[in-house]
Amino acid sequence: MPVTKVLAAFFADVTAERYGLDLMRETGLASGSLYPILIRLTEAGWVEPHWEQVDPAEAGRPPRKYYRLTPEGAARSAEAVRSLRGKRSPATEASLAW
């Protein structure tokens, strides 16, 4: 399940900050699948995004957006991943869905 893949990628290092291409590479998901998941996780409060503090003129590129697991997200998503890997429970589906 794509959500599980994304959460598993975050779990690989719960303190790491991940960006879109990085997650795409690790999960094998296409951008069109990944970003809706990131938005849903953000809306659920499981991950929090923040913008890279970089001067575009100096760096010669636009800033990137990074995501990291919130403490609440780490706790709840661990449960969810276990549950999703075992048996998909309606409660988890509902909490992950919009």
Binding site: Y19, G20, L21, A30, S31, G32, S33, Y35, P36, I39, R40, T42, E43, G45, E48, P49, E52, R61, P62, P63, R64, K65, T70, E72, W98
Partner: protein
């Protein structure tokens, strides 16, 4: 340069499919990732194409039908509709003419008008209902959209190839002698009138259903007359001008009563396979797109969905125990 522009367009298309408050943030984020893929145009394109292809996540109003608004699904849907808009009128036209032939046979060489009228009514009603059904499920931007372009192409093919493929051998060369330019002229004349009528009906139907319907149906009949009169005049030339008034050409040709096309100033003017086929084809080709456009205009109101309350980039406040 081309791939850069295409990538930009795909990203704008993808962003536009999200609720308003998401767009700027998403576009900014995607531009950042695209910049990281600098040097690999294909990967940039694949990244943008996947985003544009994906159905967006959006809230729905209670009772709202799910809208297919992703670029990929929408394109597949539009191609399918263009195919239907092309194939169904042709096969429906054959059915109508068969009904006329059967009616003529049953009536022992009498007028085929009854069978043609019944065939037109049943096939036309079926096409209208199908177009309405599909139109009610249409995305908000269904008309005008790529669909309009596809329909124009499909209708041009019908207008040009329909008569050419069905005339007898002599007339075929006569038509070719007149040149494809003539047929293109007829096809585009009809399409111009019909396109204006469809769009007018679409916009008016958003304000008043009946105003849109009356405009569209009246316009459909007007464009049919324009097409048939232009076709007859350009096909048969000045030497074969029918004696009857031009306004009678369409109804009497549709029902094959022969009256307006009987010997006029020149007795050699006759109804050919092409003149039988062409008005039926034009009429049936217009019904499905028109009913689709009118139904899509009405569905537009349902498609205006309020955006979610929370915005991306703002972590919701933690719940209080």
């Amino acid at each position: 340069m081309v791939s850069r522009r295409l990538t930009g367009w795909l990203l704008r298309t993808a962003a536009a499919r999200w609720p308003v408050q998401y767009r700027e943030e998403l576009a900014r984020e995607w531009v950042g990732e695209i910049a990281a893929l600098e040097g690999s145009a294909w990967r940039q394109l694949a990244f943008a194409l996947s985003l544009a292809w994906q159905r967006p996540v959006r809230d729905k109003l209670p009772g709202e039908r799910p809208a297919i608004v992703g670029l990929g699904l929408a394109s597949v849907r539009q191609l399918g509709l263009a195919g239907l808009a092309t194939v169904l009128p042709v096969s429906g036209c054959v059915l109508v003419l068969l009904a006329g032939g059967i009616s003529q046979g049953i009536l022992g060489g009498g007028s085929p008008g009854l069978g043609l009228a019944a065939g037109l009514l049943s096939v036309g009603s079926g096409l209208w209902m199908l177009g309405s059904l599909l139109g009610r499920r249409a995305p908000a931007n269904a008309v005008p959209s790529i669909l309009s372009v596809l329909w124009v192409l499909a209708a041009t093919a019908l207008g040009v190839l329909g008569p050419l493929s069905l005339v007898d051998s002599d007339s075929f060369f006569e038509v070719l002698g007149a040149g494809p330019r003539t047929m293109l002229l007829v096809g585009w004349l009809w399409l111009s009138v019909f396109g204006v009528v469809t769009l007018a009906g679409f916009w008016l139907a958003r304000r008043s259903r009946w105003l849109g319907y009356v405009t569209a149906v009246a316009g459909m009949l007007a464009s049919l007359h324009v097409a048939v009169i232009a076709y007859v005049w350009l096909h048969f030339g000045r030497d074969y001008v029918p004696a009857a008034s031009l306004y009678r050409l369409v109804p009497e040709t549709l029902l094959m009563t022969d009256a307006p096309l009987r010997p006029g100033t020149n007795s050699s003017f006759e109804i050919t396979d092409a003149t039988e086929f062409f008005p039926h084809l034009v009429l049936l080709a217009m019904i499905l797109p028109l009913s689709y456009a009118l139904a899509a205009a009405r569905s537009r109101h349902r498609a205006e969905v309020p955006a979610p309350a929370t915005a991306i980039g703002h972590t919701p406040e933690p719940e209080q125990p």
